[in-house]
Amino acid sequence: MQQEAAIGASRRPMLSPLNRRRLDNFRRNRRGYWSLWIFLVLFLAALGSEFIANDRPIIASYKGELLFPAFVNYPEAKFGGFLATTNYRDDFIASEIDANGWMVWPPVHFSYNTVDRYQPGSGATPPTWLLTRDEACDRYPLQAADPGCNWGNAHWLGTDGEAHDVLARLLYGVRISILFGFTLTILSSVIGLVAGAVQGYFGGWVDLVFQRVIEIWTSVPALYLLLIVSSVIAPSFWVLLGILLLFSWVSLVGIVRAEFLRGRNFEYIAAARALGVSNITIMFRHLLPNAMVATLTFMPFILSGSVVTLTSLDLLGLGLEVGTPSLGDLLYQGKENLQAPWLGLTGFFAIAVLMTLLVFIGEAVRDAFDPRKAMG
């Protein structure tokens, strides 16, 4: 019995030794490792955009009642007004709440679609820190003495042609780009994996027919299809995702198919077949891990590709609906307002930083999975 206890005591390690070595390899690539952390911080910040840039307070206390305006729509009647939704930036509501309690605002008092009534000048206006206090507060009722003319209402990156705060639009735009990219990458990887796996594992006629279908499919011009679709319906997030997915899943099929074709003749596959293991289990348990290396290596690059695709479609006006904050829209605004370089520069640096981070992470992942480095 004592012996059995000893046998039971040796526990399965959390990560297989191979994966631990890969993780170590990834960590050793300083550039990729730091890029991952910076990317995660940026991504988390973008996910919490509502807490950083919003035209509603996060928490407010009004007449002894604790309110969460950022998440709950309170009708204006609650504060003595008459509109269906409350504009907390309005002087009347703000002073009413301040008189009967308090409000906690996010650092930037604008959401992506907030129009700043007091923006200094018409059209796109430069960042507040480029202006003197008199210039910045020019349109406030009390001008420089106005308590509303504070840092919370400052435009750190200026405003665009529609009096929207650029920083707010950037945050929300990055969020939508990354989420779109992730969704597209994961969905097209899953479809690509399944299609490649089926072709490679079964081979023969299945493979032959599928390959020809894919060849025909890839020759369909995706951009024209997008043009046609966007002229019929205003493409929403999901419609756009669907259309791009129709064509992007093909990119992984080739590698996965090759890995399965190679792998199905391994002796351990024959051993599994001799054990009576079903085809699906063999594909998932024995062959998929081989193909995963190729897939994971490609994923960061597919992700950055997806982000770029969405941005370029938005820039061309074929992307998301008008008014949606996006990196492409920012670039479009920059193109339309050449006298306001902060628009184009913001868009450019945002995309450049995002792409650089993703490519650095991708390189580190690729090197970590490189069998010559991981096995050695």
Partner: protein, 536 residues
């Protein structure tokens, strides 16, 4: 004693902190054959490569390699090149990869002649023809334009030998020159080498792990293990009276023992009638079938409970295909009855419940275990399919029992295959088959990829398990020594057909067909050196 041709003094080759060889010394006299014997990883190939300084630049050499009084360790590259291929030449193990596949035979031999002798065009062609004739290539003139893939394994090795002999070297280094070849071809190549050696009077450094070959070709032998030469001396002395423990271990490691006696009254577990595996050959635009490659062509066999049927034959004889077809891992024609069930007509799904009773162990322990699964997942996989009603604890207990049965510590079951040696991996593969408690197991060359001493252990293990559980084996092998230690019944295959069939003891004692006689002669041949005493 004459002055040695090659004299190695305190040679140490280190890769980083690991010493591949550790201060080894030996001499080769002119015209002498010295065999360097050891198991994989003993440093014998590294020694051979270091003589010509063919090691990668990461290797650090120290000591002396004196060839005709010149130290090759300190020799400048230009002098080394003059020695390589001219005074010392080398043949490698794998004849397919050591010939360049994009050049013709004539060009490859001609290159050696051009580099060291300056022979060109017609002079080179004449010499090439002479060489090919000397190494026994039939009709050499028509073979000059052939590419390596158009030749058989034995012919390729002959071409390699022709290249090595082109400049009549004083020393020939042969690194396992026959390991990749079939036994009958092996015998021919060895005869050829001995013959050429006596004609040209060259010395030979012969590297091998096969003691049978050593007995047949060598004058003196150096036994190597873990980078050191533990014993050296004339072949007869070493074989008759080994001194070092490792040498004794190596000599005792020859597969031995006899199969457990069979019971003639036992029922037949496997019955096969007229089994055919034909692969169609398709040609043309419409892929019409123009013929068949008959991998297995009309085989009948029957195996009784508790018996071992040995299937022997050279590569390409269809013996592995027969094993695969028997388990329905390959489509075939003919009647297959296993444990009273006609299985030929069953669908893949209907086969599944039967697979528990019929298992297979593969040749290559490195390829047959998934590198990404831990040992308990590998062994437990079959249980997940066939014993679905048992819980995780019971499954774990059975995996532990299977590991103990094959002599591995159960604590190692969460490790991954790459952490085990070849022999241990083969034990894992055996445990995977045995955990299902099968009644019939096909063993497809389970010992071929292993070192001799490990081979013997695995054979003992297989015999032990067979006796304990009353298993029925089909043992596929090209190695007749191994088959003799396990098989009750024997079939000899050639080109997909059965050449000879019967009780193993009878066939070993009195083979009926010429082919079987040739196989036996090649496997159990006595020394060919004139004047050498008979060895046991």
């Amino acid at each position: 004693m004459t002055t040695p041709l090659l004299s190695i003094r305190d040679l140490t080759v280190a890769f980083g902190a690991n010493a591949a060889t550790n201060g080894i010394s030996f001499d080769i006299a002119p015209g002498e054959t010295v065999a360097l014997v050891g198991e994989s990883g003993s440093g014998k190939s590294v020694t051979a490569l270091s003589v010509l300084k063919l090691l990668p630049t990461t290797a650090a050499l120290s000591g002396q390699i004196l060839f005709k009084g010149q130290d090759l360790v300190t020799a400048p590259p230009a002098e080394l090149r003059a020695v390589r291929g001219n005074d010392i030449s080398m043949i490698f193990q794998e004849p397919m990869s050591s010939l360049n596949p994009v050049h013709t035979i004539e060009r490859q031999i001609g290159e050696v002649l051009a580099v060291h002798r300056g022979l060109r065009a017609s002079a080179a062609r004449k010499r090439t023809l002479e060489l090919l004739d000397a190494v026994g290539i039939p009709d050499p003139a028509s073979r000059l334009g052939a590419y390596p893939h158009q030749l058989s394994g034995g012919q390729r090795q002959r071409v390699m030998i022709a290249m090595a002999l082109a400049n009549e070297p004083d020393l020939l280094i042969a690194d396992e020159p026959t390991t990749a070849l079939d036994v009958t071809v092996q015998a021919q190549i060895l005869t050829l080498l001995k013959d050429l050696q006596s004609r040209l009077g060259m010395a030979m450094l012969f590297i091998t792990h096969d003691l049978g070959i050593v007995k047949r070709v060598a004058d003196r032998v150096c036994i190597m293990t873990k980078g050191e030469i533990v014993e050296t001396g004339p072949v007869e002395t070493i074989f008759a009276n080994p001194q070092h423990a490792y040498t004794k271990h190596l000599l005792a490691a020859e597969p031995s023992g006899a199969p457990p006696p069979s019971d003639p009254a036992a029922p037949a577990i496997v019955d096969v009638a007229n089994l055919k595996v034909w692969f169609p050959v398709r040609r043309g635009l419409l892929r019409r079938t123009v013929g068949h490659i008959k991998a297995v062509d009309g085989v009948d066999l029957s195996i009784r409970r508790g018996e071992t049927l040995g299937v022997v034959g050279e590569s390409g004889s269809g013996k592995s295909t027969l094993g695969y077809a028997l388990l329905r891992l390959l489509p075939s024609d003919g009647r297959i009855v296993v444990l009273g069930n006609e299985i030929q007509s069953r669908s893949w799904k209907a086969m599944r419940p039967l697979r528990k009773d019929m298992q297979i162990v593969f040749q290559d322990p490195f390829g047959s275990l998934s590198p990404r699964l831990s040992v308990d997942a590998i062994i437990g996989e079959g249980l997940a399919v066939h014993a679905t009603q048992i819980g995780a604890a019971e499954r774990d207990a059975r995996v532990v029992k299977a590991l103990q049965e094959v002599g591995l510590a159960p604590e190692t079951r969460f490790r991954y295959p790459h952490e085990f040696s070849g022999g241990q991996r083969q034990r894992i593969a055996i445990a995977r088959a045995m955990v299902l408690e099968p009644k019939f197991v096909v063993l497809d060359e389970p010992t071929s990829a292993l070192d001799v001493s490990i081979q013997a252990q695995v054979i003992d293990l297989l015999r032990d398990i067979q006796q304990r559980h009353g298993l029925t084996y089909m043992f596929i092998s090209h190695d007749l020594k191994v088959v003799r230690a396990l098989a009750n019944q024997l079939i000899v295959m050639r080109d997909g057909r059965v050449v000879e069939q019967g009780a193993a003891a009878d066939i070993f004692a009195a083979p009926q067909s010429d082919y079987t006689r040739a196989l036996l002669a090649a496997a159990f041949a006595e020394p060919m050196l004139p004047g050498k005493p008979e060895t046991v």
